[in-house]
Amino acid sequence: MSVIVNPDDLSCKELVELVTDYAEDRLPPSVRTRLEMHLSYCAPCRVYLAQMRETVRLAGRLSEETLPPGSKEQLLRAFRGWKRGQGDAG
């Protein structure tokens, strides 16, 4: 199926795929504009972007030192299990 690219429009699905690059200011101007035009009328996507930015903001405060005892080992086990396809995320 061919993808129709309208310079004046962008779908919610496209926005979800582009939102990280948008938040990190890595989009070319034309794509950035299409994305912002989408945000102008799409309330759910505005909420999604705000949640994503808040997650990044909160996660940015975390450091290894702030992890509760045992959490680092628990996370490492979970990721190792996930990589082996065992999905032991607790």
Binding site: T33, M37, L39, Y41
Partner: protein, 206 residues
């Protein structure tokens, strides 16, 4: 250069969260310098023809200082300031604008249906007056198949969002319906957005 800027409540830029300095008793708001090079990080505003692409709660007449460059559906300057809020753009006008967009969608649907010899469906939509009645009729038609269902579906959603108070989304869906009415021509979307902008500018006396 005089241009326009839609902002979120409190003169907040909708994408960056920047709080714009608003005009006071002594005149225009303070100049704001672009943080980086144009066009990506300049001060963005829109021309009258771009209005419908950027709807938000507040509309401000804005001055951009040279150099100002043309960009996609907007203009970008190195400095900008707010001159005055367009008081005519409020909740009531947003609703009136969205209703006008819905009627435009209805008229396009009627024309497309007649063009496809679907006169019964066209007559039904053409003979409907009142937004609530138009909503009922379009929802009923949307349950059928083919072109009438597609056009009526867009019309029904245009009205649903309008009645929910989301005029920006309502106007957007109305413009999307132009693409269906034009047999899938994507350019119809931009053309309809420009028509909406013209309509809005007329209502606001811009």
């Amino acid at each position: 250069m005089i241009a326009y800027k839609f902002l979120s409540p409190g003169a907040v830029a909708p994408f960056t969260g920047f709080h714009w300095p608003v005009p006071g008793p002594s005149g225009a708001g303070a100049w704001v310098e672009a943080p980086d090079e144009l066009p990506l990080h300049g001060i963005h505003a829109c021309r009258v023809a771009d209005l419908a692409f950027w709807l938000d709660t507040e509309l401000w007449r804005t001055e951009l200082a040279d150099p100002v460059v043309d960009a996609q559906r907007q203009i970008v300057g190195s400095r900008g300031r707010l001159l005055e809020r367009i008081s005519g753009w409020d909740e009531g006008m947003a609703r009136t604008f969205a209703e006008a967009c819905a009627w435009r969608a209805r008229d396009r649907a009627v024309a497309a249906l007649r063009g496809s010899a679907l006169d019964a469906e066209a007559d039904l939509l053409a003979g409907t007056s009142g937004i609530s009645r138009l909503r009922s009729v379009s929802h009923a038609l949307a349950a059928h198949g083919g072109l009438p269902a597609a056009l009526a579906g867009y019309l029904a959603e245009t009205i649903d969002f309008l009645l929910a108070g989301d005029s920006a989304c309502s106007a957007y869906i109305s413009a999307r319906s132009a693409v269906v009415a034009e047999g899938g021509q994507e350019s119809a979307f931009g053309a309809e957005r420009e028509e909406q902008s013209s309509l809005l500018a007329g209502r606001l006396g811009l």
